[in-house]
Amino acid sequence: MAIVGKNGYQKQAMEIYQFISEHLYFNRPDMEIKGVRFNSAILLSLLTGLKKGKELIIGEPGLGKTTSAEYVCSLIYQFPLGVIWGSEVSGHPEQTEEKIIGRPDLGKLNRGEEDVVWTNFSQIPVKIVDEINRLPETKQSMILDGVDRGNWEYLNEMIINDEYCLFATANYQDGGTNTIIAPLVDRFDVMVESRYPGANLSFLIGKDKRKDHVLRHPKYEKDLYHVLKSKIAYEKKISKMEEICNEFGEYLYEVLGVKSFQKPDRDQIRGEMESLKLDLDASALTRMLLAELSFCERYGQKRVVENCEEGCHYTGYLCHQIKNCASNRLPSSITQYAQGLAWLLEDSAIDIEHIQAVVPMTLAHRVQWKDEILSQKERSKRDDPLPIFLAKEAVKAVSQRYREQSEHLKDALAAGSKIFQGGALEPLEGDHPLYVEIIKDIDIRKKE
């Protein structure tokens, strides 16, 4: 079992969370994990920042989708708000590659030389795309590779972000929005709603309009812009930016009493998070969920173009309620955010509660529910937007099934392991797609 270092980073992260929730982003806690209550928008943004994740924040206009991300990024990466604002990409139909990634250096071009002027967005580790669903579907493809790998290409040049996190905000469907294309949606690790804080907190927010000035610093902003505009190598820019960011971090500590994270701190934290492993229950539950989200007895796997067979034995499972197949990014997102959460709560391993807490957010935007399920549950009494509500319901149902057969399921997986190692055993049978998947894996091994 991994032992998370007692270096106070968790306390520091919780202090950042507290500072944001008490001074910058007022909202109600809407989730509870192991007796600790959190606001999901701040918590998930915090984990996204620390874990180099990608988060999609949805919500009504003016409910703090962008600002919550900005505050978290400013405190975790030590960037003054002015720089973050100047690096954001806003989604609109006229958006171009030149405004998002980079453009030719016109001065040099006049002299017959080809050089790229990279945008602030592509250079800084904090990336915020505001109103991503206002980008036309054809233009969303421009940022696919950058979002996925941190590779930004223009002309024949490329910069690679070693450290970056991405936040994108999206309004609910209105006249000016487009659907986010499936490959882009799948690249987001989590989706969270920035909710209405309630009339009373909303009233307080209205009273204090300039609360974000505490994260501004014109001098450091100017210095950072100067570095970003300079013509030095990208790696050198990064180290120069770090120096300025560290100074801004010290300023924040002096003025606000909040200690932000320097690059070595963030690396150390990520190392600690990576060392946290899933315990057997967490692993078995995740496998069970993935099996239900990908299984089709008739056609081998779920495919968005194929429909369920009438009278299928597996009608009681999630596979019968959804259209698409879970991608390989899903387990990665679940593990990453569960690691982050377990680390923050100072737990020594990822357990079932961490999984249950993060799965709805990793699943909500990825699952395409069948129309009958949507029409059935659309009018259910709920606090969450429909996709998150449906994902939470799905997690509850799978967890219930897991509780009923956890021992047998783990036994089946253990038997699978023994057979894989050459043991003369018979695979265990059970009424769940995962048992079929185990048998499929074993059969492949036997055929070798």
Binding site: D411, A414, S417, F420
Partner: protein
């Protein structure tokens, strides 16, 4: 001669197992299903263990007393047997219900070789006297054999209730405890008792209170005969019969 250029070592070596699929269940390699004992199974198991210990003590007592060949009810024989019983009883951690189970096991199980009412009664008395509970109820009405010597040396602060009939020498040498018999008691009840109370709901036999040094005996039915009582009181249907007009022991009155 030109030296052959050394080949660079590859970063990754292909193992013998390369080409085989990774075990996707690796982490469950050491998982074994824990055996969950049902609470009832645990209770039965622990009860049986206690019963074995109690039975073992009784067998030891019988072994030692077998030297006497025939078990004679003599006061020093009883004291000696009680000392042996005490020795074994002290080693067992049991509850009041276990004593009742033992009483039934005496008659109904093949595990106990023989029921000798004398040593059995001494042993049961020792169990009652050393039990943690202050009040002990023994439902013996279903027993075919009437056990002798129940309530021997019952100490002060203890209450022993017997549902059913008892044999001879019930409550002898009582040391301040309270013994209630919800049935009949045979001869020599309360013999040599020093204090405490014996309540017999129905009838009582001969020699009641023989050499009794103190305490009280209450009989709800009839007293067939009193013994030579030194000190103490005997009541028959709320009527004091000793001390009273009866001066002649073992006589019908």
């Amino acid at each position: 001669m030109k030296a052959t250029p050394q080949r660079k070592k590859p970063i990754f070596y292909l193992s013998k197992e390369s080409g085989t699929i990774k075990n996707p269940f690796e982490e469950f390699k050491y998982f074994t299903v824990p055996t969950h004992d049902l609470p009832l199974d645990q209770i039965v198991q622990s009860t049986e263990a206690v019963m074995d210990r109690i039975r073992w003590g009784y067998e030891k007592l019988l072994e030692e007393e077998a030297k006497e060949l025939v078990w004679m009810v003599q006061y020093n024989t009883i004291i000696k047997a009680y000392e042996v019983a005490e020795k074994y009883v002290k080693e067992v951690d049991y509850a009041a219900e276990d004593i009742e189970d033992f009483c039934f096991a005496l008659e109904n199980t093949q595990k106990i070789p023989y029921l000798i009412p004398g040593p059995a009664g001494v042993y049961i008395s020792a169990l009652c006297n050393y039990a943690k509970e202050e009040e002990i109820v023994l439902k013996l009405s279903e027993l075919k054999t009437e056990i002798n010597l129940l309530g021997f040396r019952l100490p002060k602060g203890k209450r022993l209730m017997i549902d059913g009939d008892t044999g001879d020498f019930t409550g002898i040498g009582l040391e301040g405890g309270e013994l209630a018999v919800e049935g009949n008691a045979k001869n020599w009840t309360g013999a040599g008792m020093r204090g405490g109370k014996i309540l017999v709901k129905k009838n009582i036999g001969l020699h009641t209170g023989e050499w009794m040094m103190g305490g009280e005996i209450y009989v709800g039915g009839r007293v067939r005969g009193l013994g030579n009582i030194v000190e103490g009181k005997v009541y028959e249907r709320d009527k004091l019969v000793y001390p009273g007009k009866t001066k002649y022991p073992n006589l019908y009155y």
